[in-house]
Symmetry: none
Subunit: 191 residues, 4 copies
DNA sequence: TATGAATGAGGCTTCATTCAT
DNA sequence: TATGAATGAAGCCTCATTCAT
C-alpha cells in the first residue's frame, strides 16, 4: 500500500509527531485528500503499519522455525524464535524504535485503541502457545509465563539493540537466554 | 513549585499532548508569559516533574526500608522495595502512566543547603547497589542483573496496574516475585 | 427524479449546507459523477426542488378550491386557499423551513405533452388574480394588495408554524384572517 | 470594535459566505489568531454585528421621535418611527440586505441560536410598547398586533428598498401606511 | 518578576469537481 | 450514460511564543 510505505519511510526518518499528513501524501506522490480515502488520521496509518510489520516479523520467525523440523525442546524453539526476532530487529533498529515507541504510546494513549497492542500481543502469545503444543509441553502458569517472557525480552532488548547501552546485544544475549532458561525450567511440568 | 504542580494535575487529567501551556499557567493562577520565566517548553516541565516524582517515590521506598533495620536478606530487601513501589504506583495509576516511559532513567534530586546547590545523582541502579552492599552480597553479573530486574518489573507491571489486564497485580505478584527469586538465587555468590 | 428526491430528503434532514453532493448521490444509489450529468451544483438541485414543491402545493390548493364550486366570495376563496396552504405547511414544517426564503417567487411547472415541452409560468400572484376573476371582483390596488397579502402571510406564519412562537398557528389564525378581511374589505370596489 | 467593522465591510462587500476569517483579520490589520480571541466563529461576529446595528437604528429612530414631543397619536408615532427606519434602510440598502438575509438564516438555521433574532424582535416590541404607553392607548390584541406590524413592514419593504421591485418604496409607502392605519384603528380600544 | 494581547506558522479536514474507464 | 478514485483549493482552528508594559 503506497500510503503506508510512504508513512513508514517518514515515521522512521522524522518520527511520528514531526510527520504530517501532507508530507505522507506528497511523498507517496498523491494528493492530500487521497490520504483520507484510506485512513482516518495519522494514528490510523500508524496502527496499520504496526500490525503489518509485526505480522511480517512473526511470519518470518515462524518460517525460520519450520526449516528445522527436528525434535527441538520447547526451550530451544523459544530461544530460536527469540533469537531470530532479536537479530531481525537489530538489522532494523529504526523499525524496532518505531514499533516500540508506538506500542508505548498505544498503551498510554487516553482513548481505548489498544486494539492494536492486544492484537499484536495475542498473536505472539498464540505463536508461543503453538510452540508448546509442538513440543508437547505443559507449563504451570502458562499465561503468566508467556506474558512475562514477551515483556522481558521486549523491554530489556530495546536499549541494547537501539543504542548499545548499557551493553551491546551480543554481550547481553547469554545473560538473557540464561534467564529465560531458568524461568522455563521452573515452569515445565510434563514433556 | 506552583507551575509544576499545575502541569502535573493537567498532565494526569488530560494527558500530555492535550495539555497546553495556556492551561498550565491559568490553572496555576499565573499569566501565560510567566511560564517562560521558569521553563523552556512543555517537555521541560514534564522532565522536571518526572525527576521530582521519581525521586520522591524512590526516597519513600528507601525510607520504608530503613524502618526495618533487622538482618534481611538481599532478596527480601529487593522484594520489599519492589513491593513498596508497586503498591505506591497502584495507588497512583495515573502517575505510573505518566512516568512509565522514563522509569529506569537517571534521577536527579535537588536540595538547597545554605544557599549551596548540590546535585545528587541517584538512580534505581544506585539504590539496588546500596541494597547489595548492606546485605553483604555479591552477584555474578551485577550490572546485567540489576538492569534486567528493573526492566522486568517495570514492563510486566504496567498493564496489570494500569488496566488490570491480562491479570490483576494481585494475581501476578506471586509469579513475578518467584521469577525474581529464581534470578536472584542464580546470581548470588557470596553472602 | 431520483436525485431530486434524494437531495430533498437530505436537505430536510440535515439542512442545505451540511448536505454534500457525495451524500446526495450515494443516497440516490448513484455514483458521484452522475450528479453532474443532471445538475450543475447544489444550488441547482435546490432551485429545482423548490420549483417542484411549490408548484405541487399550489396545485393542491387549487384542486381543493375546485371541489367547492359554489358561489364563494373573494375573501372566502382567498382564506380557503390560504388556510389550505398554511395547514399543508404545518404538516410539512421542514418543507416550509426549506422553501420559505423563496416563497412568493416565480413558480415554473413543467409538463410534457406529446413530446412537446411547454412551460407554464404560474405563480401565487397569478393564482390570486384567477380568484379575483372567478369572484368577479375588482380591487383598488390589485398588485400591491396581492403582494402585501403574500408577504404578510408568509412572514407572520413562519415562526408560529415552525416553532410555535410567539404563539401557535391556531392562536394566531383568527387574528391573521381578520387582518386579511380588513385589508380585503378596504380594497374591493365592484363585486 | 476593529474586527466587527472589518467583518461588516466584507460581509457587505462580498457576502457572508464568501468572507473568510482570514480576510476579516487581515482587513482589520490583525493576525488570524486574534480573531479567535474575540469571537468563536463567523456566525458569532455576524450575530454581534446584527445586534449592534439593529440597536443603532432603533436608537436613532427613538431619538428622532423624541424631537417631537407634541401630542402625537399612537398611529402617528408608529408611522413616524416606521418611516424613519424605512428611510434609514433605504439609505443603507446593503445593511438591510445583510440584516434581513442573516435574520432569515438565523430563523432557518438548524441550531437554536435564535437568541439573536428574538432579542432583536423583543427590542422592537419593547419600543412599540413604549409608544403605546406614551400615547395612553390600549389594543385588543397587543402582542399579535405588534408582531404582525413588525413582520409586515420588514417583509414587504425588503424587495422595494433593496431592488425597487415590484414597486419602489415611494410608490408602496402610501399603501403600506394605509394598511397599517386600518389594522391600528381596528385594534385601538381606549385612548 | 509578571502579564496577557497579539501573532501566524502549521496542521487538520472537507468536498466540489474532474476524468479515465 | 454511469462511475468513483483522485485531487487540491479552501477554510478552519490551535497554540507555542513574543513583547511592550
Amino acid at each position: 500500500m503506497l500510503l503506508m510505505d510512504s508513512a513508514y519511510d517518514l515515521f522512521i526518518e522524522k518520527g511520528f509527531h514531526k510527520t504530517t499528513i501532507a508530507m505522507i501524501s506528497k511523498h507517496a506522490g498523491l494528493g492530500k485528500g487521497t490520504f483520507y480515502l484510506y485512513f482516518r488520521d495519522k494514528e490510523d496509518v500508524r496502527d496499520s503499519i504496526i500490525v503489518q510489520k509485526s505480522a511480517q516479523i512473526l511470519q518470518a520467525a515462524m518460517d525460520d522455525l519450520e526449516k528445522k523440523r527436528q525434535g527441538l525442546s520447547f526451550y530451544e524453539r523459544l530461544i530460536r524464535m527469540t533469537d531470530y526476532i532479536i537479530d531481525y530487529l537489530t538489522e532494523n533498529k529504526e523499525l524496532f524504535k518505531f514499533i516500540s515507541k508506538s506500542m508505548g504510546m498505544v498503551l498510554i494513549s487516553e482513548s481505548d485503541n489498544d486494539g492494536v497492542e492486544s492484537k499484536h500481543l495475542m498473536d505472539l502469545e498464540e505463536v508461543i502457545r503453538g510452540l508448546l503444543k509442538k513440543s508437547q509441553v505443559k507449563l504451570k502458569d502458562q499465561k503468566m509465563f508467556i506474558y512475562t517472557i514477551i515483556e522481558l525480552v521486549n523491554s530489556t532488548c530495546y536499549s541494547p539493540i537501539v543504542s548499545g547501552v548499557p551493553f551491546t546485544m551480543d554481550e547481553y544475549k547469554p545473560f538473557l537466554y540464561h534467564a529465560i532458561k531458568l524461568l522455563t525450567d521452573d515452569q515445565v511440568i510434563s514433556e
